[in-house]
Symmetry: C2
Subunit: 195 residues, 2 copies
DNA sequence: ACCAAGCATGAACGATCGTTCAAGAATTAT
DNA sequence: ATAATTCTTGAACGATCGTTCATGCTTGGT
């Protein structure tokens, strides 16, 4: 491990993700990034092209980690709905203290950016659609084992989950731990449209 | 109306609100603001102290306008729940096309800022609590006229409304008009915990 | 051992950032 | 009419922004 080995792209993107996630696109400066990923400007631009290029790569990585996390939840239980609830607990409750920012990085990005960064904005929107499709797949699974009625619209339920997660994560961030998050998550599954 | 009349503070804060709301705190530069509010730096700093000072004043104004909007909805119908639904339609659906940004400015602010702007962050959180209290007051009204059962927890219902609005506004922004927002709003009121 | 190719370096660039302040114009008080 | 006060102006400041590129080091092939 010499002083000048080729940089570890995964590690770098990971660190960049954490910083971008915490501070957002605009408030994160290239000098901030240089510090946390321990690279000089020339190397960063050779590898990622621009501040936007690096950000885009963090969005991809963040999304893949989200998918992995959901799959990990899915493998911990035979109940697809329990997996969904476990996932919600992780991103809504645990993420408040263990993540760079309690909010979903994709939602934060869609919230922050305007048409001045059209590619990044679209990339974040697409990634959110991807996550919603993952939810839908889990819900379809729940239908095949009879955990959710077959006549329910899986797409609509996935959309519902997406809205609830987004709403709850934002709410958690505004209330500094005062909200009964676990109970609020339970209520999502106790009532229509799931039962 | 001479060239040098004292500036119209309300008009100025209004314009600043629109710009901050659209672009966020960090992406809005003082020069952007100078252009839209037609004031020179010296005047702005004499009147508002700093970029943060002006932003804080826009938060206050934005919140008051939100309260006014809810009261306006309340006066258009004898049903408190219908008023709430009308308010939701306005901020979730109409705001997508008619506002500087479909998201709630307060949520956007809480999402964007970190502890580097503690006062602004807290101000936005406080304003969201204020809005939630307004929702609660409407729900209590609904209980007094028997539109909502008395044994329901008005605070919990207000919290629920807050989460739904936040989730739906974010979702609307990510989907570019593809989501059945009106139907999703209806569902909030058709199912538990309101019925 | 040497060369060629690939990679990292960091000083420097022009642009823009938030902010200040000396100076002048407009208004109010006398 | 004049003085005192209030408000506006915009050039300028140091700091920082995203980005570039000439230079030198490291690595793999022979």
């Amino acid at each position: 491990m010499s002083n000048n080995a080729k940089f570890d792209r995964e590690w770098v993107v990971d660190k960049a993700t954490q910083l971008y996630w915490e501070k957002g696109f605009h408030a994160t400066s290239m000098r901030n990034l240089q510090d946390v990923i321990d690279m000089r400007p020339g190397s960063i631009y050779a590898a990622f092209g621009s501040k936007e290029g690096l950000f885009k790569e963090t969005l991809v990585r963040y999304t893949q980690q989200g998918i992995d996390k959901l799959q990990s939840c899915r493998k911990q239980t035979s109940s697809p709905l329990s997996a969904l609830k476990l996932f919600m607990r992780q991103v809504v409750i645990e993420a408040q203290t263990q993540s760079p920012n309690g909010m979903c990085m994709l939602v934060k990005t869609v919230s922050e950016l305007t048409d001045e960064q059209p590619e990044l904005l679209q990339a974040a929107k697409d990634a959110l659609k991807t996550m919603e499709a993952e939810f839908e797949a889990v819900i379809v699974e729940a239908q095949t084992i009879g955990e959710v009625a077959n006549h329910k619209n899986a797409k609509a339920l996935a959309r519902h989950i997406q809205v609830q997660i987004t709403g709850l994560r934002s709410y958690a961030r505004t209330t500094d731990g005062d909200a009964p998050l676990a109970q609020m998550i339970d209520e999502v599954f106790e009532h229509h449209p799931f039962v």
